[in-house]
Symmetry: none
DNA sequence: CATGAATGAGCTTTCATTCAT
DNA sequence: CATGAATGAAAGCTCATTCAT
């Protein structure tokens, strides 16, 4: 499953890597380990074993166990920030009519695309939504920063849509949070039941729900 | 040492009662401690100190630290189950028209009432939403059971509303989860920012959102 | 040899002690261990084994390993301070003639008595003169304080003797230090050669030397 | 094992010299480091950094960390041995009268000269008197050897002076040790207070003290 | 030869749990 | 029942030493 585990053929043979590479590899293993068992249940030895390195090696790249989690959270935060920054601003096509199916489809597409990138990696989703939670104050803050980032994107979209008259005036921040929470819950239920995250479907359903509400026409 | 007054005469029933009381008191302290610092950051000694008892005493009421959390989670689950069981089935008033403001108001009222009881206690909310998360497999299951319970109620409501033609046909479970996730996120954002949980407002906003969606009319 | 080691009959049986007693016992064992092998060569486990206690027990009485040494040094400092405080001021007997044998004898007696109490315990001497040295900044300071204390006493004696005209005017502090250094070196040479510290003889010799000098009459 | 041999063609002497130079340089850095922070507080990495070499390089010149200290101690021992060997035997000038000022002055000069060379270098003094102490059995022995050497010189002087009738008969070894101890203590007090070692003054004071004693005439 | 990434034995320290009092 | 001193498994972490490059 994992490319990270050391080949068992040449036991106890040292492997040399470039610093950056090794760091990434350790983070990969930490991601795996933390996502599988949670932060506290994972020992430093666990992570090292997965990476096929000695205990001391890890401490050449990270201050301590907490720093490992912080670094991991920051890597995730960085990636999401990149995504967010690269994302084009919402451009409402001319003549798009609100309430129409077109509007729903349009919203759907944007979210499917966005959420796909964020939640496509199950391990990362696990760390963001479960493993990292409550483990440590600093980490919590980073996770919250990630959250703010993502929510901020949705918020911006909402604002633009309101300006364009597609969406009715509302508290964008609150709605963005609500939406994000709903999606996260659906993702979480996948994780909890060990179902694969069908993020495309989730995003699609969520978008419809959000757009139309639940009332009968 | 104990604040619970000493009554040496006829101890039998009272002792039992005392024991139960003591157990409750310990759980109260555990709730407090866990909600403040999280499960792993809280030591058994911490809980005992709050309860004003010796370390050993706690172990006469609980198997181990995990059992303490399990018991706490079960107490919460029990309380919510009670709520759920006491809750009257959804009775759609005759002649209620879908899409109308009346329908929205009706839904709102039901949810405000329900969510208020679940999230009114901040400490409990903290344990359900943060402290207990990822602490332990068994506890996770209990929390999930609580969740299922709550989601189940919403689901049932939805089903009834669909049958009554107020709500359009949809995947009730998914929608219930989405709704619950949205509300939880809003509650969480209060906890994270140390704002009081204005559950009434949250429930109200969430209900409108869910009913009408976000699209302009 | 040592009264401290646990009786081997009832293995792994817990022993309970009063806090103060246990603390003293641990300090006794630490004294033994540090004096035998030096601070760095001694592991916390060593000390615990000698005391017949579990590792954790030590940490109920001392912050960490360093704190153990600090406490030990402070205990020694306290004892010496007590000695010093109890020591009567130098009273020059009337009509004592300088340069005479009586003066030498008088000085001798005072020092023999004083140094005996300080250096009679070999283990303590070892810690003061060897094991504690350079182990840690804080400990160094305490040891220096002990030193200052002892040197201060000699200094005071010298001053009184100068005032009485028995001793010629000189830099009392410097001379006191020189004297103390000389004595310590003699004690050290006993420790190094595993000879018992014949402090009486050392003090006697040192006093003569200091009083008369080495020149032929 | 040793890097010192190796003589292929013309490079021989230079290579040899380079290796020896490098060794010396490492020892210099070790001296610096050990004297500043003590043996245990100094890491191998620290020494290497000061020397501007990689960690592995050090191990081509020294077996291990202890060997580094041993080598350092031996270098110091060697230098002192050289000093001692070069030192002319005590020649009592004809007609020197005991107890006279001349005798004191004579003794003074000899000691000032001798001690100056031993303690002039503060870093070395620190290692001999503090850093090396109690660090390791083998090193302790070397330091003791140095001590014996120095004490031996004083002892020999004393013996000669006794033979010449300048100094009264006494236990030369004991007196030499006492004297050395006294001087060391004075030097130590400089180190502890971060005062420069005014060895000339110390030696002078010590010599007077030793010669005349403290009693009033 | 030089390097510094990699190593892991060994140590300190924590804390849930036990048990003599 | 209650206690809290005692426990020791288990974890984190350090750093002298090795070795592939």
């Amino acid at each position: 499953m994992s490319v990270l585990v050391q080949e068992p053929s040449s036991r106890s043979r040292r492997t040399y890597k470039r610093a950056a590479e090794r760091r990434e590899q350790i983070l990969d293993c930490a991601l795996e380990a933390f996502s599988e068992s949670g932060y506290h249940q994972t020992s430093v030895a666990d992570v090292c074993q997965r990476a096929g390195i000695g205990r001391g090696t890890l401490y050449q790249y990270f201050e301590d166990k907490r720093d490992l989690l912080v670094a991991l959270a920051e890597r995730i935060a960085g990636r999401i920030t990149d995504l967010v920054d690269k994302r084009p601003r919402l451009q409402i096509p001319d003549g798009l009519k609100p309430t129409g199916d077109e509007a729903v489809a349009f919203i759907q597409d944007r979210f499917v695309e966005f959420l796909t990138v964020i939640f496509e990696d199950e391990a990362t989703a696990r760390v963001i939504l479960k493993a990292g939670r409550g483990a440590d104050g600093v980490v919590d803050q980073i996770l919250r920063r990630i959250d703010e980032r993502v929510v901020g994107v949705i918020e911006a979209d909402l604002r633009a849509a309101i300006d364009a008259g597609i969406v009715r005036p509302l508290d964008e921040r609150l709605v963005a949070r609500f939406f994000m929470g709903g999606v996260e819950k659906l993702v979480l239920s996948c994780l909890d039941d060990d179902r694969p995250i069908d993020i495309e479907n989730i995003a699609r359903e969520a978008a419809v729900l959000e757009a139309r509400g639940i009332l009968a026409d």
